[in-house]
Subunit: 237 residues, 2 copies
Amino acid sequence: MTNALPFKERRAPGFRTQVPEVCVTRLSLYLRELTRLNRQQVRMVSSRQLAESLGLTDVQIRRDFNYFGQFGTSGRGYDVRKLHDRLTKILGVAGRTWNVALAGVGHLGSALLAYRGFRERGFLFRVAVDTDPRKIGQTIQGLTIASASQLAHRVRQQQIHIGLITVPVESAQTVCDQLIQGGVRAILNFAPIHLDVPASVHLRTVDLAVELESLVFYLVHPSPDTDSRKNSMVNGA
Amino acid sequence: MTNALPFKERRAPGFRTQVPEVCVTRLSLYLRELTRLNRQQVRMVSSRQLAESLGLTDVQIRRDFNYFGQFGTSGRGYDVRKLHDRLTKILGVAGRTWNVALAGVGHLGSALLAYRGFRERGFLFRVAVDTDPRKIGQTIQGLTIASASQLAHRVRQQQIHIGLITVPVESAQTVCDQLIQGGVRAILNFAPIHLDVPASVHLRTVDLAVELESLVFYLVHPSPDTDSRKNSMVNGA
DNA sequence: CACTGTGAATGCATTCACAGCG
DNA sequence: CGCTGTGAATGCATTCACAGTG
């Protein structure tokens, strides 16, 4: 319960500024683990225990939490339920849902529509569009596929918060623009191409081929010391 | 054509050591863009042009290339074809294919089996397994689904290089171990859980729910200055 | 004493600034 | 010039080391 934070005032209303990008990603990871622990009736958890199950370091975790305040008890660890509740609020997923639109109902798009992990965490598909006339009008996962020409309109109408792009590269930028035009401010893109978005829109690209291909590099160039993200034991005797 | 590299000798046979992790990921990105340019008969390309189309900076690209040698011509840029050939060799995808095994033929698994981006870049699915008796024996994308109990065996038999995991969290670690037991040294995991692997195995996890959820943070905490990965224009008047 | 919280040190990656080449 | 290649400076993230607390 430190009473004077020297120069931490600089935290703007809604902190945001100081928080490392990576930390935000990990927040979601923490949240999932805490949900698990909660289900298992676990009351308290230490940063070390969390680190162990998530493949991180304890300091990393304590520092991540610290960007948002002091949640822990010295010598005890963290109250699972309390921490969970705090983090859901910080992440913005506390007691609410988010509306999602899917552009492109191909193999990957269909898989995402069916992905339980999304619904579990409060992401609801409200719009799905495709250009294929045979698909338009079909119902998948309880959602009727609309025409791609309707995208911007539907997105606005349904108050969509987040857009998922699973269309071929040729149409990805167009679809992206339409999502933004419809008011979307966060986009998860699976098309293997760089998309231009205004600074106010948050874009994240998951490039499956790149993920796979970059793994190959390490197969072809095995490191002398056997590496990994964890202990590399370099300085040891 | 610098004649003496002061202390760059430290590059071990097969460089690997010095190369930033992020750079390796980008390598694959460069390669795809160069393939595109090649198809369009473009002869030369500058780091700035590449930067523009990939959403990176020119210096970043030049430095990335430099980890592997000098490929460019001052005042001219890079020879597209030559650079492409060099990078395919460095990445380890030059004139060869890689055998892939898929564990878990659910929605996502099926989508990956069908994903053209993989085949295009020389990744061939040779094994697919599932635990569901109704799926075993079925053929999908020309591949017959085997029983999960066969995994390690098939992987060894088919000389699989890379494993993809799209099974539920409960079985992910087991499947992972079996892949490794079968001789796999690179794994792309889609199960939303941390997997333990020996240091000699390269693991990458794509966590779809985390990708989506972490986007929400930025919706809830909009930054004062409108941010983005590109020009933030902070210091400007 | 087992744990959190955090300055200070280190390590990794990007950007700046510019020498040098075609 | 236009562009590459690269030391030096900066910025971002992790790790170390330890003071402080229940």
